[in-house]
């Protein structure tokens, strides 16, 4: 196992982590500010990917596709918040889970009605196609490198928004004491719609960015949703910083575990068995990580509420 391969795998882990962060940031914001468990977050990821694919095929512009993904997901999020989610804030978590699970089914079958059952086509822009040679002779996909950069820029933007703007102050206040900020004259229901739409837009952006290197199909959001939940549980529910650290941890564990665990088992098992055992353990690795973090810190790495 060469150094180049190890560095390449670390980059892969980073890239996965940063895409997970886009998903997890919205999820954790919505939970932190509104106390809502939104299972339909994966559907907004799918909405972003489908919107991007449709617009990319119509216009041929990837940038237009990204804008469409952001807009469509934010719009879908705002719509869902005002029509349905708004009635659930006072409901127990179980009702929220049921209602947002129903939303997954509605989004999935609705998408199938409109777009059909076959996967859609979405390609990476030609300017970012192919590999680039990094210092040290590492050939790495330009597009994946772009994903890392875009993700970091979005993370920085989100940090500025939360820490440096009036809206961010309101969001942080909403997490701590929603009655008090309502009493201070902040329109809490408008704030909720904005936060929900923001979270949805981030999910939609992730869907569009990842859709270009994966398959755009119905149900693509649910596997990512599970990973995003693992991320926010590790990071501490409601914490953006936690979501960032958690996402990188999960991305790196998942990627490096998949590569190195089979190698590790190959030291004392025959190759076929080592592959199977190693891969099986690698699939569990992020859950083992989650378990370990929860034993050490029951409210997650940056969890506010113990």
């Amino acid at each position: 196992m060469s150094t180049i391969l190890i560095i390449e795998q670390i980059l892969n882990g980073l890239q996965l982590g940063i895409m997970l962060f886009l998903m997890a940031a919205g999820l954790t914001l919505i939970f932190g500010v509104m106390g809502l468990i939104n299972l339909a977050h994966g559907s907004l990821y799918m909405v972003g990917a489908f919107a991007a694919s449709t617009v990319a095929n119509l216009t041929g512009s990837f940038l237009a596709a990204l804008v469409a993904a952001l807009t469509a997901a934010a719009f879908a999020g705002a719509l869902v918040e005002t029509l349905i989610i708004r009635r659930l804030y006072r409901a127990p978590h179980l009702d929220q889970v049921l209602a947002t699970f129903a939303l997954i089914l509605i989004f999935s079958e609705g998408t199938r009605l409109v777009f059909g059952s076959f996967p859609l086509y979405l390609d990476i822009p030609s300017a970012l196609a192919g590999p680039i040679t990094l210092p040290g002779g590492i050939a790495y996909s330009k597009y994946r490198l772009a994903l890392i950069v875009i993700g970091l820029v979005v993370a920085l933007g989100l940090w500025c928004l939360i820490e440096r703007t009036r809206l961010g102050t309101q969001i942080r206040a909403g997490e701590n004491d929603r009655e008090m900020i309502a009493a201070l004259g902040v329109d809490i229901s408008k704030l909720y719609t904005i936060v929900f739409a923001l979270g949805a837009a981030l999910a939609g952006l992730a869907g569009a960015l990842v859709g270009a290197i994966q398959s755009v199909q119905v149900g693509m959001g649910e596997p990512v949703l599970i990973l995003a939940f693992v991320v926010i549980v590790i990071g501490g529910i409601g914490s953006i910083r936690g979501a960032f650290v958690g996402a990188l941890l999960v991305g790196l564990t998942d990627t490096l575990g998949g590569v190195f665990l089979p190698e590790l088992f190959a030291l004392f098992l025959e190759p076929g068995a080592a592959q199977r055992t190693g891969s099986a353990l690698a699939s569990m690795s992020i859950y083992i990580l989650m378990g370990a973090v929860l034993v050490w810190r029951p409210s997650g790495l940056f969890g506010a509420r113990a």
Partner: protein, 376 residues
Amino acid sequence: MKRLLIAAAVVAMSTTPAFAQVKVGMITTLSGGGAGLGLDVRDGFMLAIAQSGRDDIEVVIEDDQRKPDIAVQLSDKMIQSERVDVMTGIIWSNLAMAVVPAAVRQNVFYLSPNAGPSALAGKGCHANYFNVAWQNDNLHEAAGAYANSAGHKNSFILAPNYPAGIDALTGYKRFFEGDLAGEVFTKLGQTDYAAEIAQIRASDADSVFFFLPGGMGISFLKQFADSGIDLPVVGPAFSFDQGILQAVGSAALGVVNTSQWNKDIDNPTNAAFVESFEAEYGRLPSLYASQGFDTANLLISALDTASPSDADAFREALRAANFDSTRGDFAFGPNHHPVQNIYAREVIQEGDVFTNKTLGLALENHSDAYAADCMM
């Protein structure tokens, strides 16, 4: 009066066995991630029924949502309350394993249009179970045979870590004579293959074999094409069927895949099938559609000589496989699995549409590795 009517009905039923209604239960995947496959099987099957002009075949279609528990519920309902004579439709091997053994034990005939798990081909074979598609290993074995003829000596092979994935790599290795540069099991449902592609780049492989059905294959091919690694790729048809090629786009061009069917196989049945399928549904048929079509035609050919109520005669009629297959020659082996040619195909572009072109035979009159274990 009432008793008289019942008696008349009984007489009427018993005197016209050949024209009695035959009830077919189709359980297939029509929603969720794998719905494209189920839709193709259903559409191919119903096209053949419609073309036969018969009105004595009633088909009950239900959606299993790709969930074994739902498939089992549907199967119980079909057997116990709908009283179907014949069942068909299941796409996935894990669902087939949950449904088929119990169904055939209750004297229902099962005609598989897709799933062919090894357990049902060997020791677990059954007189009432017929597979019209392939045994699961077949296309992978053909990929191994093709790799030999293409002169590949050192393959990097990967598949998801679940029974069909393990069977796939076993099938490839059974026929491939070269060495393995690497053997990797990925997670089922994995969508990011950056780590595996990096391993391929670092290895000294001269070819790549992969079995990643559905969306997994789309993701892998797009990412592999983007990586700039220039190695020949071989795989079974499952990642190159008509339904998903458009989503992969130019990333799949030139990839060689193995299939028992292609739209350019030259026989009148196939030409008519491709034309009528496209006219009816407005899209090109996939191998799944051809399998659905062949399954229905097998059933119709058997119904021409016997009724399912006479199980022994009906079974013989099925075993004879006296129908015109879209694949040309078709026969059942001793374990009721196909003995057939498997072809190597190449992905090409025809106008705006990505599709496959037959390159040549990969395996001729190929059976499967489990037939000897079948005691029927």
